[in-house]
């Protein structure tokens, strides 16, 4: 198949498939028709360019490539749905942040940092969203479960990997003042 056909097929596949598709998966799909890995890559690149100036964009997240509506249209499109998107509580976001930044982490360790009991509802909600998962057990008395974030978390927050989240660790040498300046810069 020629370049144009491959590009059309990959485009159709990405639009039709509800989950992101990896380069490998796309390659497997069309391998039998003599499509190379590089062929897939260059088609993706070309598609990304095509959608540069449109209402949707082709992005690369943790589990592969997907088409999505531009984030800046969020509010304008919200009217499509009856329900307003859920806003998560500060407690949930802090718990999620602890799991994302300090994983693997136990519930007890989360409670220590936040100074407050972690409600079972928060853990349940995070698990139902498939943003966190039990990744093991800590070898201390009671063998508490260790939590970590999932690929679904990265996908849902538009990330390919955790390091894309801004760092929250300021080195010990950082004075309070420079730390605040840095923080402010990050916020701009």
């Amino acid at each position: 198949m020629n370049k144009k056909q491959l590009k059309q097929l990959i485009e159709a596949a990405l639009f039709a498939h509800p989950q992101p598709l990896s380069v490998q998966r796309l390659h497997e799909l069309f391998e039998a028709r003599g499509v190379s890995l590089n062929g897939v890559r260059s088609a993706l690149k070309s598609l990304q360019d095509d959608y540069n100036d449109r209402g949707i964009e082709l992005v690369n997240v943790a589990s592969g490539f997907r088409f999505q509506t531009r984030p800046e249209f969020g509010e304008l499109l919200a009217g499509l749905w009856q329900e307003r998107p859920t806003r998560y509580s500060q407690a949930l976001l802090e718990t999620l942040a602890l799991i994302a930044y300090r994983q693997p982490i136990t519930r007890g360790e989360i409670e220590q940092v936040r100074g407050v009991t972690v409600s079972s509802n928060i853990i349940k909600t995070l698990q139902e969203r498939q943003w966190i998962a039990v990744v093991g057990q800590k070898e201390v008395p009671g063998r508490p479960q260790l939590y970590g974030t999932t690929a679904q978390f990265l996908d849902d927050f538009n990330l390919t990997n955790l390091s894309e989240l801004p760092s929250i660790d300021f080195s010990d040498e950082t004075t309070a003042e420079t730390a605040i300046t840095e923080r402010d810069d990050l916020h701009d």
């Binding site: 039709a16 509506t69 998560y88 500060q90 407690a91 300090r102 407050v116 849902d156 538009n158 989240l165």
Partner: protein, 274 residues
């Protein structure tokens, strides 16, 4: 970032609460809202520190403890459902305060023993996580800021569920496993010729399923040549030997017939076989 002083007190149903008490008088219902807005004692503590532009590494513990305890006392006075976690923090602050008030033994002046150190460490860690929570919340989020495309496709109509594939190699390997199981046993010689004989045996039996008799001659096909005839003949002999068929001949030199071996009671037998 906005000035420290105008940091929102917290978020109530997504709206920042910027109004904050200049003194400690807060209308009762507002206090309830504020308590709801704090995600825990660390959050309240951090707010108190930030409100006065203190740095976490150099907290005036006495002042902060006094203010924190006043908040907590007021909450108790108003009989608000106060989470035990707030009291735990109050106790910890009180302990630090009392240790600071005690005269220091002269040799213990190194930083590690500053009772504030642990609190500072915790506050810094909590503050870092607060930033982490902010960063996560600022990320574009599927279902809130963007939606994924799932256009309809006729592709699903073309999906067929393929049954598992088995290769000839899988089959031969399975058979060698069996042979290994039964070890070296003279009864289990498998030879090429035997196989075609066995196949022919199945074929003959299959034909006898649909017709009661077969003429001996029907089993030989000229196109198969001498080898084919030998295979058919061996198959017939084997079937007779294994009591699977019967041969009959009315008169010498007349046509030989094959039939399924007669059973004593067909009816009964059919019932018992399944």
């Amino acid at each position: 970032m906005a000035e420290q002083q105008s940091l929102p007190l917290g978020f109530v149903r997504g709206e920042p609460v910027i109004e904050k008490p200049e003194d400690l008088y807060i209308p009762p219902d507002a206090l309830e809202v504020i308590l709801d807005a704090f995600s825990g004692p660390m959050d309240l503590l951090l707010y108190l520190i930030r409100r006065q532009k203190f740095d976490v590494v150099d907290i005036p513990v006495l002042t902060i403890t006094r203010q924190y305890v006043q908040y907590v006392e007021m909450m108790k006075e108003l009989k608000l459902e106060l989470a035990a976690d707030y009291l735990v923090m109050a106790a910890m602050l009180a302990e630090i305060k009392s240790r600071l008030l005690l005269p220091k033994p002269p040799q213990e002046d190194d930083e590690e023993d500053d009772p504030r150190a642990e609190l500072v460490r915790r506050l810094r860690e909590y503050e870092a996580i607060r930033h982490g929570a902010e960063y996560i919340d600022e990320q574009p989020q599927v279902g809130r800021d963007m939606w994924l495309s799932e256009v309809s496709s006729n592709a699903r109509d073309h999906v067929t569920t393929a049954p598992p594939e088995v290769s000839l190699e899988d089959l031969t390997l399975a058979f060698s496993r069996i042979l290994n199981q039964i070890k070296l046993n003279a009864h289990h010689h498998i030879q090429r010729e035997q196989l075609s004989t066995r196949e022919r045996m199945s074929q003959i039996l299959q034909r006898l399923q649909t017709q009661p008799y077969l003429r001996f001659g029907q089993l030989f096909n000229k196109s198969e040549g001498r080898a084919g005839a030998v295979v058919s003949f061996l198959a017939i002999l084997e079937l007779v030997k294994e009591s699977m068929i019967e041969l009959s001949q009315v008169t010498p030199m007349s046509e030989i017939h094959l039939r399924r071996k007669a059973s004593f009671d067909e009816q009964e037998a059919t019932e018992t076989t399944d």
